[in-house]
Symmetry: C2
Subunit: 890 residues, 2 copies
């Protein structure tokens, strides 16, 4: 005889967690909870095989189903000491569908099944609450009417609305027992009217009606569509779960509550939650009565902890708590009901928690032996570390929100508003906290950004200049706040009617994108021992190396502090914007006379060499990849009147001549213009100077420290093999010259960015001339999509909102398109040059989803902004674990 | 006994054309010429096997080689009636190397071998020209001294320079026989001094010295390097060719000449060339004496045609001419010498010719049965057709060249210079011929360009806006003429000191890039019957369809006239710039009020519908692909003060508001900005209007003509499947609406441009929603290379000059990079959607090399500017033939 029905609860547990295919997801979960000894309300599951048999046999049930259901109902009645349909102490049940995989919205639940005009009176008596009984009944009739009998919801709602209008009440809570009785009558009438049938008063008829509705719903059009879209075979079928109802509002020996097995805010290992005596679950949420604490330890004067009010149930709860954590091996969020001093667990699930709590719970549980180190690593969402590394707004502080932009660089900061980089530097030098506000930022603003506590822009996306640079520096940034209007002339910004002048204070929350008026208190970040422990564990597991993108001594130090294993991208152009340098840069670009030009280049050589010396010293022998000049020359040109004059004087030319020369260098699409190695090839003296500076610095620091510095020189924006071949040859000629002059030897690497589709396609050819590749996924995303980061703000949010793109491809790598090119570059590069070192230095290097992809395609390392290094270390470990798991499964 | 030596000439022809491996390239050619009865000077070839044997046996010759060479020399002596080393009538020979494949510069030739102090006197006597004899001797000594004996060239030149200084002469021609005798003496001295050896006076010693030098040269470092670079195995060896010298300067029964078997300028089937009696080849070239015509028919009064002066040799030449054309099946360019009334053919090769001649010769030869139609198709370079379709400068007209830019759009045109599109239109409306001169052009200049005869720009490359638009319209264009300086304020341009004001005339040659002062006479194009015949043949052979890129009625008519089979790209944005439309376009973009905006859109609907009606009418049922709006909206915005005011008035706003709105739409990289389907998706009403206009027009013209118009609607700049899916759904909704309103039915297609790397990579996904793909290789090249067409001018020429790119990738498709993406798009698209129609509509659609590639990857059609249609038809046929040939070979 086939077993069609599996009971659970009250010690008779016929199912197991593994029987998901037979019992459905919900049935298997209930079986699991019951089987480990959790006090779930007793019930049973009708298997998915019944569903299949039902459809195979012309919608008829197997012959012995009725008998098995009857026996199982009997077991529930025995367990609860109630009888289904009993006029005095009626058993009520819920009926729910449950397929192998969750199919949300496919079928609603029917609660309180078993009520009729007679049993409702029994419920009123046993609960001592007539109003509750009739309210439960009317809910049941409405649910059953719509779910089982097919009467549209709104018919019931229309009647209730009409009724409330007549009574002149607004809230359901104002309706009395007698009035609910009227509503039930009206509902019965609606059902009669729309179906031509009476509402079934026989509980058995109700039960089989509900079971039939669940099986019938498996083949309704909504479910068919859902299955087609999600590739779920119809043959799987659904199970039906029938479970005893329990009530926490039947007297003072009853209660209901919600709690967490540990503190979800701090992670502390204490029982955390609240409960209400003689209440239903919704009362806890509704906030009409004040919930009470669980334990005496957490109770304040005048509160009534469950520990003292319901000591037996509380003791049982403590047993349940430890059972849960041992079984589920994670902090649980539970709902419970106490009915007549008996504890029932209605639901358990992994609890949501703050970043700090996630970290503490993971480390604690690993130490307690509940989980492994590997589990601990996977328990902390990598991106959540950002919250731990930056100051946050004090949750208790009052605030007036002005607007919200994009959360471009995390943390919170307050300061006086300034509108120019110069003013920013000046005030910061006087010790003021400053927030730089710009329509958008450009490389000229970098020094101002460095001096600022935070940056606010009106335009630009998550990967706009402001966002990228701010993240790199660890400065708070809110970008693309469209309602910010800046008038540079009057030095005032307006935000939705608020007018904020230079010097007024605002506060930015870079983790949410919010902008607040005035100063909002912040709390500093705490890098706990737990943090260091987790990082250590992650390092022991990850395969991917983690480097940082850094070019200032400050950034390099931050990178080291956060555990970077080298610098994957030092952008030399950032070094050109210093006030002591930009003049020379401009002369180098604009001078016609060779001697003037060479003098400017020589001056820059000294600065660049000093820059590299500092970085090499800080990195103390770790690898440093230096990218030669990348942006188009016009980025360095003067804009302001005074700057034109300055350059003109320095070069002995008229302002008009300088202006004309600058205009002639302007480009229609600078992103696709005369930059990267194109510059280096047409102006070989610039790259020669940079290469010389790198090599001279490496020699100097090698001498000083005795550690052999092995600089990695990176040629940007290569599209063809020939470009790299020629650029490499020129670099090597300069290196040879320096080494001969010094009579020294030095090991070095020369490689290239792979940041153009053509470079990825031709990676096999290009690899012949490269010691390493670094994927520049920012530019690669721009060119693969034909999408400018600077301009995408006008439509990318629309795209993401409308499902045209799953997410911003500058934040998380587009695996299908950009990712396909990265994979191609890796495969072709390695095939042609097996020793090729492969890394990535785009913004994606700090994004966990992207890091998982980079691990999968087999890169050697990722490089990200210094503040993302811990995120990358953790994400890399998680990727390695996911990889292991896949391999084990395969 | 191995045969080491193969004789040729004078009836004894031991070799054959096929024996290239044994005789080397030159030897096989000589054998071929001799064997078909051409009177080549007699000689012999020492085989490549001797070379191999030489190296295999420690640089020793096979034992019987000397005897075979002796016998072959004997045969030359007999044929020429001269003896090698004879003091009275010496035989002179040339010695040349000749490997299987040409290895230029590997070894020089030795001429006049056999001369010494005695035989030189015999040559003087037999030629009656002592000076010639001694000049020949000194040339021989110098050649032999350097090539065989290894004395550096410059030693001989130093002596000669010194000698000429002493004599006070500048030209070699002023040196007498006696003086050359002194030079020879000095040369002998140099050789003695540098080698310690005497110059060999024994002709046999000379001969074996030269043979040894040829074989020795096979293994010299230069040859080894060359072979390594070109993958030529050393085992191939070289052959040595020894051939009798013949002289055209031994009296009045001697002559020398150069001729073509047909007129290389017109293609006419007449013998064409010139000759000189009693002269050497170099005399014909030197221009000291005036060469005479070949035939009486071509002789003018007072000229001495060869036909009458040397009737026997002329008759022989006529026989040779017909022999040559029958054998080589192409017009030949020959050099000949008559020595003592005997004709010798020194060289024959396929003759260079003009485009017109190439066409005529190909058609004539096919009609004469000399070649097949297929051959004829391959004989006309496809690009040369451009010359036939446009006016050209009259070659006889005098001219003053001002400068030279890029030959951006072919043909010649004269006109008055204007500097604005407005003035251009105004003057053209008054019937003036006008040349529009701009620093660079933008979409706003298009109407001016249309009114102009030609366009000159100071900036921009072969695919700049000016170049692309001008080619599309068939307007002459010289682009990127860097020495042109335009002052818009004073309306004057200066070119290298010439000052040219508005209204002054200039002439452009768009085929060469030259700019001339004033009006230079032009000759109109002639589309001959031959042209039509060739096109007909090409059409019968090509597999690729050929469409045109056209959006104006004029362009559409031109396209039809040139045989386009449809329109592959009608750019709707060009329709937005008309003076009657741009106002509405601006209102549509800038208006905030929905009603104002909708009114503007409704106004545009009427214009667009009329545009499509005209085009559909002209194309009479041929397919028309209409691309929905592609450029970013800011391209349409006002720039001039008056325009701002106009828009402000129309919308009832202030100029400042309008200016701010325009500024907010500006983009950093418009190429990668808010354009294409991104616009269509965020502003669905624009695409809806365009779709409605297309469908309404198609219905109207279908009704009028009874021909079912099947419009092809193309969505630009798609990067993801979702974009096309949503845009298609929106278009279909609008189409359904129109068809329902009209109660009509219409067949239509919806497809997309594949112009972003991501689209090519994801072509399989995208194909599910597309009826067709059109590869937009302009944008695809920009994004694949990360290279803006507008900005590439500053470094692309440098790249091509320095071999960093083989050619401009915007002109001829980059097969390795962009081509790889096209191939990927084709393969993935077809795999997912077998019926997918595939075309290309970038500039590459008119480039023969690119067309060959598109044929190879299996596109269905190419689409190019109307004037390139004949080029594309011919190139497509040539590609099909090349394809057939490959298949036959495989």
């Amino acid at each position: 005889m086939t077993k069609w029905v599996y009971s659970f609860g009250n010690g008779l547990n016929e199912g197991r967690a593994e029987m998901r295919n037979l019992l459905g997801g919900k049935g298997a979960n209930l079986a699991e909870m019951a089987s480990i000894g959790l006090p779930v309300p007793p019930g049973f599951t009708i298997t998915t095989e019944v569903c299949s048999a039902f459809y195979d046999n012309g919608r008829k049930y197997p012959a012995d189903l009725q008998a098995q259901v009857g026996a199982a109902m009997q077991r529930i009645e025995d367990a609860m000491g109630l009888r289904f349909g009993d006029a005095d102490a009626p058993l009520l049940v819920s009926v729910r569908s449950g397929a192998r995989v969750s199919m949300p919205g496919m079928m609603d639940t029917v609660l309180n099944l078993g009520l009729n005009d007679r049993t409702v009176e029994g419920l009123a008596r046993s609960s001592g609450d007539e109003r509750f009984a009739w309210d439960s009944y009317r809910r049941f009739v409405q649910m059953y009417g719509s779910v089982v009998m097919g009467v549209a919801h709104h018919h019931f709602e229309d009647v209730l609305d009409q009724f409330k209008r007549t009574l002149g009440v607004i809230d359901d809570t104002a309706i009395s027992a007698a009035q609910w009785r009227e509503v039930v009558k009206a509902y019965h009438e609606i059902i009669r009217e729309h179906t031509g049938q009476e509402f079934p008063s026989d509980p058995q008829a109700q039960l089989w009606g509900a079971i039939g509705a669940v099986f019938g719903s498996w083949m309704n059009p909504r479910a068919n569509t859902y299955r087609r879209l999600h590739d779920i075979p119809a043959s799987w079928g659904t199970a039906v779960n029938v479970q005893s109802m329990v009530f926490g509002n039947m007297g003072d020996d009853c209660a209901t509550g919600v709690c967490f097995t540990r503190d979800p805010s701090t992670g502390e290992n204490v029982f955390y939650g609240e409960y209400l005596v003689n209440a239903q679950g919704e009362d806890v949420v509704a906030g009409i009565r004040t919930p009470q604490p669980m334990s005496c330890a957490r109770a304040e004067e005048g509160q009534h902890p469950m520990e003292t009010v319901l000591p037996d149930a509380y003791a049982e709860l403590l047993r349940v708590r430890s059972l849960l954590e041992r079984h589920y091996r994670d902090m649980q969020d539970i709902e419970f009901t106490v009915q007549r001093n008996v504890l029932y667990l209605l639901q358990t699930r992994n609890g949501k928690r703050t970043a700090a709590a996630a970290l503490k719970i993971a480390i604690d549980m690993a130490r307690e032996g509940l989980i492994s180190k590997e589990d601990a690593i996977c328990r902390v969402p990598a991106t959540s570390l950002d919250q731990l590394l930056h100051p946050a707004l004090d949750p208790k502080a009052e605030r007036v929100q002005l607007t919200r932009g994009l959360p471009a660089s995390p943390g919170a900061a307050s300061g006086a508003v300034v509108f120019t980089a110069e003013e920013c530097e000046a005030r910061a030098a006087r010790g003021e906290d400053v927030i730089l506000v710009r329509v958008e930022t450009s490389p000229e603003d970098v020094h101002g950004m460095h001096a600022a506590r935070g940056v606010l822009t009106a335009r630009g996306g998550m990967t706009s200049h402001a966002a990228v640079v701010a993240r790199g520096m660890g400065r708070v940034c809110v970008a693309g706040a469209g309602s910010v209007h800046i008038d540079y002339a009057t030095m005032v910004m307006t935000i939705d009617g608020h007018s904020i002048a230079e010097g007024d204070w605002i506060t930015l929350d870079g983790s949410t994108g919010a902008v607040y008026l005035g100063r909002v208190a912040t709390i500093p970040p705490i890098l706990s021992d737990d943090f260091n422990t987790l990082m250590g564990w992650a390092d022991s597991i990850r395969r991917l190396g983690v480097r940082a993108n850094a070019e200032t001594p400050d950034d390099a130090k931050t990178a080291c502090r956060f555990g970077a294993e080298g610098i994957g991208l030092a952008r030399t152009e950032h070094m050109f914007f210093g006030p002591d340098r930009i003049g020379h840069v401009r002369q180098m670009i604009i001078a016609d006379e060779e001697t003037v030009r060479q003098r400017a280049i020589n001056a820059l050589l000294v600065f660049q060499r000093d820059d590299f010396v500092s970085i090499f010293r800080i990195m103390a022998g770790l690898p440093v990849t230096v990218r030669l000049l990348d942006p188009p020359l016009h980025e360095f040109l003067p804009h302001a009147e005074a700057e034109f004059a300055e350059v003109a004087t320095a070069l002995g030319r008229t302002v008009e001549e300088i202006r004309a020369r600058c205009a002639s260098l302007a480009e229609a699409n600078p992103m696709l213009g005369h930059r990267g190695c194109r510059l280096g090839l047409t102006n070989p003296e610039i790259y020669a100077m940079q290469v010389r500076a790198i090599i001279e610095a490496a020699l100097q620091v090698s001498d000083e420290t005795g550690k052999g510095i092995v600089p990695e020189i990176m040629i940007p924006l290569v599209a063809t093999k020939a470009e790299l071949e020629v650029a490499r040859r020129a670099a090597e000629a300069e290196i040879t010259a320096v080494l001969q002059e010094r009579g020294a030897a030095l090991d070095y690497r020369i490689g290239t960015m792979i940041e153009l589709p053509r470079a990825a396609i031709q990676a096999g050819e290009i690899a012949h001339h490269a010691d390493f590749f670094s994927f520049g996924t920012n530019d690669l995303t721009q060119t693969t999509f034909g999408l400018s980061r600077d301009d995408a703000g006008s439509f990318l949010p629309f795209y993401v909102d409308h499902g045209l793109l799953p997410k911003d491809p500058f934040v998380s790598i587009d695996r299908e398109g950009v990712g396909a090119l990265v994979r191609m570059g890796v495969e072709r590069g390695r095939a042609a040059h097996p020793g090729l070192k492969l890394g990535i230095c785009g913004e994606h290097g700090g994004d966990p989803d992207s890091i998982a992809f980079f691990d999968e395609v087999g890169l050697d390392y990722v490089s990200c902004s210094p503040f993302r290094v811990p995120v990358a270390r953790l994400a890399a470990a998680q990727a390695a674990l996911a990889h292991r798991k896949e391999n084990a499964a395969a």
